[in-house]
């Protein structure tokens, strides 16, 4: 479904992503793990068009994303929940969700999706009119995910959805990710919380200073000594 082929990303002279290739098949949850600064966010941004890789290609459902305008990528069915949530702070919860459906024209469909999001996140319903900037971190994360699924995407990129959340909320967010996957969404997940991420994933890639150093079945990686030592706390 998603194929990343040998991409390179530079920030000025910093070579942040070095020949990264990865693949996500339809229906999978694939996670991308790695230390701070390894290049996880940059990889997701290069996939969703937030930045253009210097070389290499990204293709989504057989189409070369290099030839697609960044703002059209969502229309093709790929949504991205960016690092740090980035909800529109000065807009209400409902308006944020509506922005998620910006590319959708059918008002009935939008209303259905809105209802579905509110069903999944009842807390957002209670705070429908509240400004997003005044939500708690966990609520903002729910809003960011809710906003991304307002467009009925086929694929969801998630950048550290558990960052800064209490253990209880982390659990909730991971079970939501699993549910979304079961409802048919393909997922590429970036996480610091490698243990949790691996436990819900089919496959995973390990990124180190801009390079993929390991890849494989999530269960096997959980047993891998190097992975255990570096990312699973022994």
């Amino acid at each position: 479904m998603l194929k990343v082929d040998n991409i390179n990303v530079f920030y000025g002279v910093i070579h942040a992503i070095k020949n990264v290739s990865l693949e996500v098949k339809e229906g999978e949850i694939v996670s991308l793990i790695g230390a701070n600064g390894a290049g996880k966010t940059s990889t997701l941004q290069a996939i969703s068009g937030m930045l253009k890789p210097k070389s290499g290609s990204v293709s989504f459902m057989g189409e070369d994303l290099n030839k697609v305008e960044s703002y059209d990528i969502l229309k093709m069915g790929m949504a991205h929940v960016p690092e740090g949530r980035r909800v529109f702070a000065g807009m209400s919860v409902k308006e944020n969700l509506e922005m998620g459906a910006y590319t959708r024209k059918d008002q009935n469909e939008i209303n259905d999706n809105l209802e579905r999001v509110f069903m999944r996140f009842p807390r957002l319903l209670e705070r429908k009119k509240q400004l997003a900037g005044t939500l708690s971190g966990g609520e903002q994360q729910m809003l960011a995910i809710g906003r991304a699924i307002m467009s009925n995407p086929k694929m969801l990129l998630l950048d550290e959805p558990s960052m800064g959340l209490s253990p209880l909320l982390v659990k909730e967010i991971f079970s939501i990710i699993k549910e979304l996957n079961e409802s048919g969404m393909t997922i590429l997940l970036v996480e610091q919380n490698a243990k949790k991420a691996l436990s819900i994933s089919n496959r995973a890639y390990v990124l180190e200073t801009g390079k993929i150093v390991l890849e494989g079945d999530a269960k096997e990686l959980m047993e891998n000594d190097a992975v255990k030592k570096a990312y699973l706390g022994g």
């Binding site: 937030m50 969502l74 960016p82 529109f88 000065g90 910006y102």
Partner: protein, 294 residues
Amino acid sequence: MEFIQQVINGLQLGSIYALVALGYTMVYGIIKLINFAHGEIIMVGAYIALTSVSFLVQMGLPIWLCVFVAVVFCAILGILTERIAYRPLRNSPRLTSLITAIGISFLLQNAFMLIYSPTPKPFPKMVTAAPITVGSLQISMSALLTIVISIVIMLVLQIFIQKNRLGKAMRAVSEDYGAAQLMGININHTISLTFAIGSGLAAVAAIFYCMSYPLVEYTMGTMLGLKAFVAAVLGGIGVIPGAMIGGLVLGIVESLTKAYISTQLADAVTFGVLIVVLIFRPAGIMGKNTKEKV
């Protein structure tokens, strides 16, 4: 009565400031640029309206149609300046685009001086209806039109920004344009739309201005633009209702100062008000006093 008369004069002038201030504030909101060329759009609007009047007369059409010609021309000019001058600099340091804006300002002034000569040109009278008398109060038709139409325009704009899909996209882009792009919003189109609206409003302001000061010259946009900028800052730059309030407050202060203190001091008082307000409310009357959240 004299006092109310002065307040009405102030509202008239303030409506003009407010329309221009909206352009500053909307552009600032979306690309964080103080568009110093914005004042010149008023001047361009006035010249274009003036030129179109003679064509309209030849064709036997009513001359107030010149408003539409000016609005369309200025909207296109606004889109073009952004496209040609500011867009290539979007990721450069802010100072670079600021200096570019000043450059555009001189460019427009000089171009229009060359095209129309430096001699001021009279603007034909558009409103001939007699003033309305309420008790001992006389309200000129041009004052009434300026105030009422400006308020209607501002209300429509406010509804557009709050409720319309494109209006919401403008707000989203001004909050976070990476995230807005992820929502499928075309950032460039949204910015163009912002410039078009801001410049169109400046053209409307130009015509209202010419209704009470019927003289068109190539420097006319400078002081007017500067005061409208003060109004935008006074109201809280980047905040749309702020520009409206800031414009009206500034107009009234200026008119009352002229009437009761001194005509010569009017501009000094205007800027004095700005300084005093900013001491107590650094973000302006309606500005959000929040630190940026990371």
